[in-house]
């Protein structure tokens, strides 16, 4: 896309196209089979877009532009429509995630018992890695209620649930993950 302007924020579509520098992981035969199943499951093919994107993310960790092209060319899902769905939902990852993904609950109950301070502490660790010029082994994002309010503050690391995460115990949890493979 040619931009006559560079002062204004870029078209998000073009921007994320540029960010995709990581080579995209290839579709596995199992993933292909799964997507084919979605295509026949609904009244319209278009309805298969959301589950197909979920399947790709579950299987490969993220959704690259190359994957959209495959959905278009090989599965007949229009790439514009795929992109519309992909960019609408923030739960779809358009970039290769770091080794570990931390999703920290920042809804009301967890916030009341200090979620934000813990999130800040995690961010501080990430900064430390970055300052040393090292790719941090984890990313953090705030997410809505994880439905374990009785265990607040709560977080997910990848698919593991951690309850009563505090400024005191977070460092050792992070240390453990940092030493694990992705």
């Amino acid at each position: 896309m040619s931009h006559a302007h560079d002062k204004t924020p870029n078209n998000s579509a073009a921007e994320s196209a540029r960010e995709t520098v990581e080579p995209a992981p290839a579709f596995t035969p199992a993933l292909r089979k799964q997507i084919e199943g979605f295509l026949t499951r609904y009244e319209t093919k278009r309805s298969a877009i959301l589950p197909a994107l979920h399947a790709i993310q579950d299987e490969l960790g993220w959704i690259a532009n190359e994957h959209i092209e495959i959905l278009d060319k090989e599965f007949g899902l229009h790439r514009v429509q795929v992109r519309e769905a992909l960019t609408f939902y923030s739960a779809y990852r358009q970039k290769k995630p770091r080794k570990h993904t931390i999703q920290f609950c920042n809804n009301i109950v967890c916030c009341m018992v200090g979620a934000n301070e813990v999130i800040d502490q995690i961010k501080g660790h990430i900064k430390k890695y970055e300052n040393q010029g090292v790719e941090p082994p984890f990313s953090v994002e705030g997410v809505p209620c994880l439905c374990v309010c009785d265990g607040a503050p709560a977080m997910l690391v990848n698919k593991d649930r951690h309850l009563k995460v505090t400024k005191e115990n977070i460092d050792s949890i992070l240390e453990k993950y940092a030493s694990l493979p992705g």
Binding site: M1, N11, S12, A13, Q81, E84
Partner: protein, 500 residues
């Protein structure tokens, strides 16, 4: 016939076929309901929430574009509640709108401006900084996209899905960051793109061809028929009579074209402008020097020549299929009926694929009136063998050839080559709009013609349907005439002195 329903619209009983929406019924009744996303040529989306009406007995306002009229329904478009809804819907559409009307080409024909004057007129309460988005994006040959001005009505998205079936446009991201666009690194590439400029209710899509050439309120538009092909789309021609300049064509709703027209057709205003037109008549004196003359002078010299030969055998007519039925009638009545001319040929473009059709509107026959010419030829007992008639002119042995050139040069790639070879003949009188005839040093005689936007008459399209040129602009070329006027002048011509 089909079932009808009767309902009340602002207190008046209205009957419409079952299935008609309140929006459509209101349009028929000339009741204006503000709307952005609804368009008569597209499916209903119901996304702008602007077209609210009150249905008595129902607790909330409803959108009229997706509301089917039913028997006994009592709909009001102008209650205070509805008016307030319209006003605030407009304010919300403007939350992140840049309001850059002074530099926006849409100003003067913008839904936001028009509705502000008709249903808005509030002091804005929006004080927060606006979300900025990319501007001046190149998304197609004739398309410049300003995503900040977009109100996300999805008309363009539906046009690409439903009409061109390319699905080239989408809305990406969400909420106030939602942005209209093509897939990254791709452009819209088809022959119908400027329709997006027309249907976009705001200045998000503007036409590269028309941008910044003229403020629209200085233009006059007059209904005509596109001369670009045998479909004969109904159009409006936009020009500025004071400066005798034409600027653009836009589709007008019509039987042949529905709501759209093609981009090739949009170009057919260009040949009307003076810079490319034959500006005056000319003849050649006894020594072979070109003499500029006026209309009367051109008729005089042609009249003399015609009087000096036996027209039936010595004159040939070469006619293109880009003129009106009325012109053909006066032409053949005189030349075939009165003068008995036998050599009548049709001017064709050798490269044209006359039976092509793109499935939407554009046809391979790039002449507005092929049917009309064929009918006229038939009526005058002249066969209409079609192919390569051009070559026969040379072999006809005619001493005088009257060559009525195609009007629209863009539809005739080999026009100049054909003009070139015609000038090799003994004497050719060109009746033409084309400035290239004047540039050709060997051309001996020419009369400037009026274009389709400057005359009255009818075209018969591929389907046998007639389309009318009804509201002519003044011809920018002083001596420009249509065929009927030239023929009338020739008919009335008498030698001024001496024998003939």
């Amino acid at each position: 016939m089909s079932e009808t329903v009767t309902f009340k619209l602002n207190g008046k009983d209205v009957s419409v076929p079952k299935g008609t929406t309140v929006m459509e019924a209101a349009r028929r009744e000339n009741v204006a309901i503000p709307h952005f996303c609804w368009h008569p040529g597209l499916s209903v989306a119901g996304v702008c929430r602007f077209c609210m009406v009150k249905v008595e007995g129902r607790p909330k306002l409803e959108i009229s574009c997706n509301l089917q009229a039913t028997n006994g329904m009592d709909v009001k478009t102008d209650t205070d509640e509805a008016k307030t809804a319209h006003k605030w819907a407009l304010e919300f559409h403007l939350v992140n709108h840049p309001l850059d009307c002074p530099i926006c080409d849409q100003a003067g024909e913008c839904g936001l401006q028009d509705y502000y004057m008709s249903v808005g007129k509030y002091p804005s309460q929006m004080t927060r900084p606006k979300v900025l988005k990319p501007k001046i994006l190149d998304v197609g040959r004739d398309l410049v996209l300003d995503t900040e001005r977009c109100i996300l009505c999805t008309r363009c998205v539906r046009f690409e899905e439903e009409v061109t079936k390319t699905g080239a446009l989408g809305i990406f991201d969400r909420g106030d960051r939602a942005i209209i666009g093509t897939y990254p690194e791709t452009k819209i590439d088809h022959n119908y793109q400027t329709n997006l400029v027309d249907i976009c209710p705001v200045g998000a899509f503007t036409s590269r061809d028309f941008r910044f050439k003229q403020r629209v309120w200085f233009l006059k538009d007059k209904p005509a028929i596109c001369p670009g092909c045998s479909t004969g789309c109904s159009v409006n021609v936009y020009g500025k009579p004071e400066t005798r300049t034409y600027f653009r064509l836009k589709p007008r709703q019509g039987e042949a074209n529905g709501h759209w027209m093609c981009d090739k057709g949009r170009e057919t205003y260009r040949h009307l402008n003076q810079d490319v037109r034959l500006r005056g008549a000319f003849t050649t004196d006894a020594k072979g020097h070109r003499q500029d003359t006026n209309f009367a002078g051109a008729i005089e010299s042609l009249g003399k020549r015609l009087a000096g030969v036996n027209p039936a055998s010595d004159v040939a007519l070469l006619v293109s299929a880009q003129h009106t039925n009325e012109e053909y009638k006066s032409l053949f009545d005189y030349f075939v009926g009165d003068l008995g001319i036998k050599n009548v040929y049709q001017w064709r473009e050798p490269t044209e694929k006359i039976d092509d059709f793109d499935g939407l509107l554009y046809r391979g026959d790039h002449n507005a009136n092929t049917r009309g010419l064929q009918d006229a030829l038939k009526q005058n007992g002249i066969g209409s063998g079609v192919k390569n008639e051009f070559d026969f002119v040379a072999k006809s042995g005619a001493k005088i050839v009257i060559a009525i050139t195609p009007e629209v040069p863009s539809t005739f790639p080999s026009l100049n080559r054909q003009l070139e070879s015609l000038t090799e003949l003994d004497f050719v009188s060109f009746w033409t709009l084309a400035g290239t005839v004047g540039d050709n040093k060997k051309a001996k005689h020419a009369i400037p013609m009026k274009g389709f936007a400057e005359k009255k008459g009818t075209f018969t399209n591929h389907d046998g349907k007639s389309g009318e040129l009804a509201a002519p602009f003044p011809c920018p070329v002083v001596d420009g005439r249509d065929i009927s006027e030239i023929v009338a002048a020739l008919k009335g011509w008498r030698p001024t002195h001496g024998n003939k």
